[in-house]
Symmetry: C2
Subunit: 226 residues, 2 copies
């Protein structure tokens, strides 16, 4: 069996798979679960993995290359992490957490629905523009990572996003800001539209992403406004 990362290795061998084992199941761990070194290493490794994926793509990413990038030995990685899968998932989830932290305030500060839509897209693209490598890594992983059975590993993440934007659009329709359209369909279109612009920036960084933002906001505005 492949028991545990750092310490879980000495645990009872029953707990085969528990990605969220961090929350105390028993009270005999008053000090933080992870030592200082471990937290530092994990952060370093996730950071290195992000850079490697961004540069070499999903398929070009191996533990060996991550180790090389971080200038550590390969086994440091397998010591601190359960598997490559765990690392990649962290790259994605951390990026989303940070992105949403950046966006949520901006969106909630707006009163009107159209303001919120603009804030959403604007804040999102700004954040991505400032974190190009992280964005590239995230999108490579999202597009490629699969479960052992072969199905895409990240599917539900997008649904939540669509739901949230759909609500904003519907409110805008009730308030008469927007014309009549299928809110959910348009929410999908808007989000994927932003992704699309990001996609062209991803493969060609000469695209001045920040300059495109006003154009995109304008485009969307004309499309949905009454």
């Amino acid at each position: 069996m492949s028991a545990g990362d750092a310490r879980s290795r000495k645990r009872a061998p029953g707990a085969a798979y528990d990605p969220r084992m961090a929350e105390r199941p028993d009270p005999n761990d008053h000090p933080p679960r992870r030592s200082f070194i471990e937290r530092a290493r994990r952060a370093q490794i996730v950071e290195a993995a992000t850079q490697v994926v961004a540069e070499l793509g999903y398929a070009g990413t191996s533990l060996a290359r991550i180790a090389e990038k971080a200038e550590i030995s390969k086994s440091v990685i397998t010591y601190h992490f359960e598997s490559k899968d765990e690392i990649l998932r962290l790259v994605v989830s951390q990026f989303f957490e940070r992105a949403w932290a950046h966006m949520s305030g901006r969106v909630e500060a707006e009163r009107t629905a159209s303001g919120q839509v603009r804030a959403w897209i604007g804040a999102q693209l700004e954040f991505y523009a400032e974190h190009r490598a992280e964005f590239l890594a995230m999108s490579q992983i999202m597009a490629n990572h699969r479960t052992p059975e072969g199905s895409p590993a990240f599917a539900g993440e997008l649904t939540e996003e669509v739901d949230a934007l759909t609500e904003i659009l519907q409110r805008g329709q009730r308030d008469g800001e927007f014309r009549d359209f299928d809110a959910r369909g348009v929410a999908t279109i808007i989000l994927r539209c932003a992704d699309g612009v990001l996609g062209s920036w991803a493969i060609d960084d000469s695209t001045r992403l920040l300059d495109q933002i006003p154009a995109l906001l304008d485009f969307v505005d004309h499309a949905i406004r009454r």
Copy 2:
């Protein structure tokens, strides 16, 4: 052996990299370059590769799996093809050729710029909807395939597309059909927008792509019309 690429193996070892060597450099090939069997095998293998990439993703695609899918031995592949790279490039280029063949007539039949834009998007999505596996394979390969040096292998393909649509938009502006905007930027947005909708369909085939087409056409129409 003689000339082909099954046989090109005996060529001068200088020509290291030539993705577009297929077009006759000399006139001494009146009969088709490839035998019947070879053409059949190549088609079969490209077809199998398409299915494998669509199902297992780019990273999950190996010559072994392609062979398995085609129910042939692995070396039949390496006999008829120079490399895995050649196969993957064919999957992409054939898909584009067919898609463009489907679209070009529809676009050129329209007189107005806005009609052409609608025809473009509509025909594109319809074609993709009818060829889901090929689309999935193409998009996996486009997103992941890299040169040996690590840079994305398909970058220029998109530029051409943008150029063509940009011209249509500019004409529409001159004719007063469209409002004022940066044609190139909006062309990018429109194309990537369609890609985005396709992307959500790619990961979730419950999306009724054909139903989304009118919504998307409507969305774009409102966005660019005067």
